[in-house]
Point group: C2
Chain length 886, copies 2
């Protein structure tokens, strides 16, 4: 086995899907398909080991590799009943790279390898289609020259353009066989000029060169950099897949297409996709000819269609997932070229997950861990346009409902523009004739995507669905004019910067900025989420400070409020006045009087939330931001405030200046405020407990948790805890009643994590404030880091934005330390996180690994968090049982 | 022993100085003095154990304590040949608290205990001084009432004032014996009214009450809070010292005084101090009568003086330190009341240390670890006024040279004012008639202190000497007028805010702001520092970026530059222009051109420093601050810059706005700049290496260390290291020569400490930037924390300002982690600190404990750091040998 470098697939298959490391992902998958009887064009895979040895030997193949490749070619010849370089029935091959993990920078596909003048002639004899043969020939020289020998692709393009001009052709399709024959000669001349060699006519020489090119691409600087950035280690090289060519463009009994085993928009169980008769695979994707719905095939190629349906069912059942399949029909014979898990919308994902469990294809556990991603659930919670308003809409055009959901934004025609607009905080709809991989940045930045050309499997459609971003594709009702930066439906013209709305669920393009309504969740969603909620190693709470948000969160499955920020409650017109008077006073007693004015408001705030969350815990954070946030900074507002408070403006200005901070993030805020202004802590404690007691009198139970922010030293916490307990005793005495409540703290200052054992002795709970903890541990100001984080991501210094996904090594380590230290001194300590990361799947997985008790996130992320929690639990259970099995 | 609660001292002494825990500091010390034959008034100490048991038993004395106290009293009676409550030869006692560690909140002294009407009569018979006796009596009732029974002292004061008004006395001294007798009766009435009891006339009852009051004071809220704040744990209670009263105010053969065994200003070996004939101890300190120099005693009380001289020599030799001694002479008999190590100036400390080694009293090691504190060395480096200029000075007055050194500042008359001025960054001289403990804050804030009353042992003098702050005391040439906030010498009037200069070395008050010159170091200093440098477990480097500073540092013993900040080098007129042009450019190539303009300057900077530090390592930090620091923010300057750079002002303004940051501390700075602007790193690397190579060509060796700031992720460091190495290769090729240099990093972001193992694999050295590490670990902005740090210190949340002394638990823990992790992957890693803490003795001790290789501090702190290093080494050696002995 040590020296087995070639694994065949087809009539005889050596590998299977478990052998990814040795055969690469693609090789293992081709073998697997053969094993389950799928008609894959036969071929062989050269192992990653062979790649490694070749590179180690200075690009000399290991002993016997050449012989094994010959045997592999013989295997294909036998299966296809053709001969490689045979001047009668010639076999052509494709060569592709394929490592265990797919990565950019690896060698692209080479098609039609084995072609030479004799072979071309034989193919013409065989298929009677001269144009097809010379078109294949010139494509082969272009690809081989470009990919294997480094001859610039643009040189070939220029030659093509020149020829088109000479013969007066406006498109490639207008070039006839004779033209293409001329082109083949010119391509060979270009090849010779730029390589110094004749174009190799020996098929085996072509194959050796191509295999070496794949090997070499493993160490291309782009591939190395990608592995570095993505921390891919332990891989030894890439596999090489050599496979028989099949042709969908020989005649009208040939075809090529792509299909999904289910509808990727809504999950309906129906073969879904497009095909083109007498066409090559790239024609379907390129969008030059408009493809036909796959359902049409049922009538035109009934037998093949039924055969295809059978295989797609097999593949879906085998891979236990909805499949995205590429196929080619060569003169009535069906070949499956590739299968992979299909991208789908959130609605489809949930429907498929539920159906596949009902159909017995997957277990509930598998459906949760493999069929629905957190982003899918997120999509379902996206808003829609109100159907009742449809009549009032000015419809600009109708296209394909390529990715569901409602988006509104200002029109931009350029991806770069879209990215810049996003940076400025603007909402945009990217409008393009078609999109290409170069548009990915702009598509990501846009709120929605509209194209005037392309089908349901066009680039725009596939990418948008993957992201759950609304997309209307192929809207031929509109004409885009890049010159004037506008589009028109012949009636109305929309310019860059104008607002439009797109309905990706219905394929509508609507004039203006339309209102959207919250999504309606369907039965599949509730079924699926019920299964998800069977896995609950961690609670999911919500960050909310209004009864409205709390209600949304509760409805979406929140098991409490993990963070109610009290500062937002002070910005109402009546309230801000009292807080400003409080700030302007230099005497604790006077400040207490102004704070007393706020007490009734604050009590009502808390009562409202307690009422909504009846029975669930509500964590209320004491005032956190620096006081200057409550003062105006603009001259007019200052004047208004001076009049309102009846104070000289100079006095106000002095205070504003006195409160200014160089680094407010690290300034006089959090418990530092509560310590220098104990009256604030007292008032808020009173408001929390009075409202809880008054509700108790109404017969309603509450679970208040008072949270002290920005603690870095146990003595800060003790100070605040003593204040809270003293005030509580006063309130209890006054009301002649008591309630249970908890006092805990945010862990958001690195020092708090480092001394968590001390703090835990005093605290009932820790809530990791991962936003601030990230800012301080990494020394990144969240408001300023945009100036360098993109460069860091580009350079591979960061793999993720640490404000989106918890930095495992740094911040994660501190959380781990705090958890371990805290548990030692307080085994009953409750721990959770309440930063933005609480809704991020990978961060949730980390929290689960670390054994936290809950995550808290924004209301609309609650279901996403539930799914992430369930997936983390399942993943761990699988790992544990694997460990147990060892 | 378990039940021995009373230890006597005097003719029979049970304890010694090792028994602090059981007897308290004061008790152990009194016993020790007795052991070496010092005439201490006899007495006994009740143990801390007795205190603990009494408190545990709900204030019931343990069995046998009463009997032991009686025995103790008998011991005193025997030694003094007097009887407690004896109506013929009565014994009076003093009662004092005394725990192992002195702390505020403990019970004050009670004097004259044992007094009653019969005893008073006997004392009058004995001493023939009726006024003395009734004065003692009324003082006793006041103290007992106040301290033991909680009767407000002000009530007694009011009675005194009333009586004075009645008899027309303007001062206490004018009250005669008859008046005081009346006062005793009135005091008793006050006592009765406010306690509900008769004043106890039974001496044993008085004693029991007083002892209980001491016990109770152990748990006074003030004492508890102090122990909490100071983290004093493990103490079980306070001792009680009961001692025979002796009187310095009986007749003219009686006296009381304080003396130092050497001159505390310059260290000269001569008995130094003051005394008062026919006076009580408090009269000397209170400053009501002006004391006489102790040398006068030699003539007036020759025998007693000689006796005193003998005892002071014994005490100094025994305690191996200069002593501050209190004594009383009762009718020709000398008693030593207290001895302790004397406070002294820096000059005196070093002189004493050197002399005591030469005299064989202490070893070099003892002189380093016990006789000189880091602050003493710091004082020696303080500037002085030029003696050559003395003739030109306008001298306002002459006072006592209470604490040497030269200070200049604006006059303030109020301590609070001094503190506020300091906050505003102003230099002030605090001018007071006298100072009291309430002035300590203002004295600390002031640059110098001037008093118009009080001697060399007045409060102002003692405190100022302790701090090494210049002080002129008792300058009776000036009259202070608090009303008009001014002082005058009758000729010139100086108002609040006017500048004066004071020369604490000569006792001069000088008009105006005079120039000061750097200190001249004397032979004692060099001798002492030579001994200090024999202990060098850690290098001491300096933070310096000019050749002048580097020269100072080198002369003061720096063993290299630990931090040369390159940003300061760019603010010269020619340089700032280039750097601004660089900032204004959006293209890397263009920026590189502007940076090239800076190269020659930067090279000269480095050459100058390398030349000064020849042979020693020089750590150069790459550009650290955010770019906006190099741009003007004020409208006029912006306009000037626009003209200078020939750019539209709007463009400049846009850039200024674009570079603004919310939290610049956590912003786009440090290596983040070097990564987004690689050309900066390249230029600086080139400047460092070209200058080193050019010096090499001149035959001079250099040891450059390039330091990358603000690394938080090993990939940042790798990125910069690669740039530096690439540029280095280019430079070496160009110069056709190579040099060795190191590349290391600051550890100042918490994440760097947490991932130090990774970073250490790549780095040659770590330099802990404890300023920033403190900011981020604690979440304190250094520029803003003044708003809450004082409150934190007051409330005992912080025991030290973490920007002065490293926060051991948080920041210290991270340094420890980084050291351990770094050593695992790179055993050769060199580690040091270069924050402000590098000159702080306690922080240096921590660095030594953690095993760092060097500290780096500002040039004038270098000798201080050397001493701290030596003291840490000695401390550890002693601890190690103690451990070894076990």
């Amino acid at each position: 086995m040590e020296n087995t470098f070639v694994f065949t697939f087809g009539s005889h298959t050596d590998g299977d899907k478990s052998m990814k490391e040795l055969l690469g992902g693609k090789g293992a998958n081709l073998a697997e398909m053969c094993n389950i009887g799928i008609p894959v064009p036969p071929g062989f895979t050269i192992t990653t080991k062979a790649c490694q040895k070749t590179i180690e030997n200075g690009m000399h193949w290991p002993d016997s590799l050449y012989e094994q490749v010959i045997k592999g070619v013989n295997h294909i010849e036998k299966d296809m009943n053709l001969g490689f370089g045979d001047p009668n029935k010639p076999l052509l091959l494709s060569v592709r790279s394929g490592a265990a993990v797919s990565m950019p920078g690896m060698m692209d596909t080479i098609l039609n390898l084995g072609m030479n003048d004799l072979v071309a002639k034989a193919l013409i004899d065989q298929f009677g289609n001269e144009r097809f043969v010379y078109d294949s020939y010139r494509r082969f020289i272009d690809m081989f020259g470009d990919v294997v020998m480094g001859v610039e692709h643009s040189l070939f393009e220029e030659a093509m353009e020149k020829l088109k001009a000479e013969v007066g052709a406006s498109s490639d399709l207008e070039l006839n066989a004779e033209d293409l024959k001329v082109l083949v000669d010119r391509y060979k001349a270009i090849y010779r000029k730029h390589t110094g060699h004749m174009f190799p006519s020996d098929p085996m020489e072509q194959l050796s060169f191509a295999i070496n090119a794949v090997f070499s691409s493993w160490n291309s600087s782009r591939a190395i950099k990608y592995r570095e950035i993505s921390h891919i280690t332990g891989l030894i090289g890439t596999g090489v897949n050599v496979q028989a060519m099949v042709y969908g463009n020989i005649d009208n009994n040939s075809a090529t297409g792509v299909c999904f085993t289910r509808n990727p928009s809504n999950g309906e169980k129906v073969l879904y996709g497009e095909y083109l008769i007498n066409a090559q695979g790239e024609d379907v994707v390129a969008g030059i000819r408009t493809p036909i719905p796959i359902s049409d095939m049922k009538h035109r190629m009934t037998e093949v269609y039924d055969e295809l349906l059978g295989y797609t069912n097999t593949l879906e059942a085998h891979y236990k997932n909805m499949q995205d399949i590429e196929f080619t029909v060569q003169q009535g014979k069906l070949f499956i070229l590739q299968t992979r898990n299909g991208k789908r919308t959130g609605q489809a994902a949930v429907a498929i997950a539920v159906d596949m469990v009902k159909d017995g294809i997957v277990t509930k556990q598998e459906s949760i861990s493999q069929l629905v991603q957190p982003e899918h659930i997120d999509q379902l919670l996206h808003p829609q346009f109100a159907t009742t308003k449809m009549d009032e809409f000015e419809i600009l055009g109708k296209g394909l409902p390529a990715s569901p959901g409602a988006a509104v934004g200002m029109v931009v025609f350029d991806s770069k523009e879209a990215e810049e607009a996003k940076q400025r905080g603007e909402q945009v709809i990217l409008v393009r004739v078609e999109t290409s991989p170069e548009d990915v940045g702009g598509m990501s930045a846009a709120d929605g995507i509209l194209t005037s050309r392309g089908g349901m499997t066009s680039h725009a459609a596939v990418v948008a669905r993957g992201w759950g971003k609304p997309c209307v594709a192929g809207c031929s009702d509109i004409i885009i004019n890049d010159q004037t930066q506008s589009f028109t439906n012949g009636d109305i013209t929309v310019h860059q910067g104008d607002w439009i709305s797109i309905d990706g669920t219905r394929g509508l393009v609507i004039l203006g900025k339309q209102d959207r309504i919250p999504p309606k969740l369907n039965a599949n969603y509730y079924t699926f989420m019920r299964w998800v909620r069977e896995y609950e190693p961690m609670e999911v709470r919500a960050n909310a400070e209004t009864p409205e948000d709390a209600k949304v969160a509760l409805d979406l499955g929140a098991q409490g409020i993990g963070l109610a920020r009290t500062e937002h409650m002070f910005f109402g017109a009546d309230r801000i006045r009292s807080i400003r008077k409080m700030i302007m006073s230099d005497h604790e007693e006077e400040r207490a009087i102004f704070l007393k004015e706020l007490l009734p408001y604050q009590k009502e705030d808390f009562k409202d939330i307690f009422r909504v969350m009846a029975g669930y815990p509500v964590t209320i954070r004491l005032l956190d931001p620096p006081l200057h946030e409550f003062l105006p900074h603009d001259e007019n507002e200052l004047e208004a405030m001076a009049i309102d408070l009846q104070m000289p403006i100079e006095q106000l200005k002095r205070k504003v200046v006195a409160l200014e901070e160089h680094n407010p993030m690290l300034g006089h805020r959090g418990c530092r405020l509560g310590i220098t202004h104990p009256e604030i802590t007292k008032m808020q404690t009173r408001a929390i407990l009075e409202s809880a007691l008054e509700l108790l009198a109404e017969g309603m139970e509450t679970k208040p948790e008072i949270m002290v922010p920005l603690v870095g030293n146990v003595r800060e916490f003790k100070h605040q805890k003593r204040l809270i307990l003293e005030e509580a005793e006063k309130v209890f005495e006054q009301y002649n009643a008591r309630i249970n409540f908890q006092i805990g703290t945010m862990i958001e200052v690195p020092r708090a994590a480092l001394t968590a054992n001390e703090i835990a002795e005093e605290a009932d709970f820790f809530s990791f404030g991962t936003n601030d903890l990230t800012q301080m541990t990494l020394g990144y100001s969240r408001d300023d880091a945009a100036t360098f984080i993109p460069s860091y991501l580009d350079a591979g210094i960061l793999t993720d934005d640490p404000f989106q996904t918890i930095d495992r090594e740094g911040v994660g380590q501190l959380i781990h330390m705090a958890k371990e230290l805290g548990s030692i001194t307080n085994p009953n300590l409750k721990m959770g996180i309440c930063g933005e990361h609480g809704g991020d799947p990978r961060s949730i997985e980390l929290c689960h690994e670390l054994g936290l008790n809950y995550v808290s996130c924004s209301p609309f992320r609650v279901p996403v968090a539930h799914l992430s929690v369930a997936q983390s639990a399942i993943k761990q259970a699988i790992e544990d049982s694997a460990l147990y099995a060892c």
